[in-house]
Symmetry: C3
Amino acid sequence: MTDPLLLVLTNLPDADSAQALAAHLVEARVAACVNVLAPATSVYRWEGAIETATEVPLLIKTPASRYAALEAAIRAQHPYELPEVIAVPVTHGLPGYLDWVRTETAPDA
Amino acid sequence: MTDPLLLVLTNLPDADSAQALAAHLVEARVAACVNVLAPATSVYRWEGAIETATEVPLLIKTPASRYAALEAAIRAQHPYELPEVIAVPVTHGLPGYLDWVRTETAPDA
Amino acid sequence: MTDPLLLVLTNLPDADSAQALAAHLVEARVAACVNVLAPATSVYRWEGAIETATEVPLLIKTPASRYAALEAAIRAQHPYELPEVIAVPVTHGLPGYLDWVRTETAPDA
């Protein structure tokens, strides 16, 4: 049985914290590759009012078997008390790339 | 049974209409949080020729149970006759964040 | 049985190569629509060190039945030896838009 990949999304308050978290996740081998996207505007309700804030989205590639460790690493470093962390399943992909993600995130590598 | 989340994508023709739709969707409780991404270039075929257009992508977080209401709200406000609206399933996530999305989009909140 | 759609992601080293690949994929009818996102910063490990590089992400919409042809078209034109190509399933969407994607990518159209 191969270990399916996930595409995981989170948002940071600025480019510096986004870049720092991305490097930390790769360093800790809980992600093989992270894309730090251009700044976005997030819209949500807070205490009854519609708020907007600049945020920097991350697209994180990791195997499902590493999701729990990835989530723990995000929580430990993320400046928000309750950050967005959501994951969608990768059902197709270039086999060599999928294998590379698994190799880069092997805990005993 | 919990209500699984969806990550829903659509594209607007400019930042003003994107921001307005994002605020409307959160106000109407058909989305908990919307990320208005930096402008993108969309490429597609129209009447036999390859066209390009600037568009502003939205990443919308909502429960599957609210998808029909979200789609109707997008259609009612979107300037295109046939907008892109596609959704991918969220299979993992931070439990507190997933619960927040469900609470923010409860129809009787 | 309808043919489910995929949202496919890849990354190019600059806006020119991203735009050229997007146009090629639509021209070849292996994608109905491609969004060329604003430049991102990709973070990954290479030969033991954490590297960062600017990359331009593509979001590609195509039916699952066309995935193999799409992957082959990306590989044939992509400048990297082992590019990222991953796909996530589309489980909900505006029916008219989903049909448009299928029509635009029909091999004998």
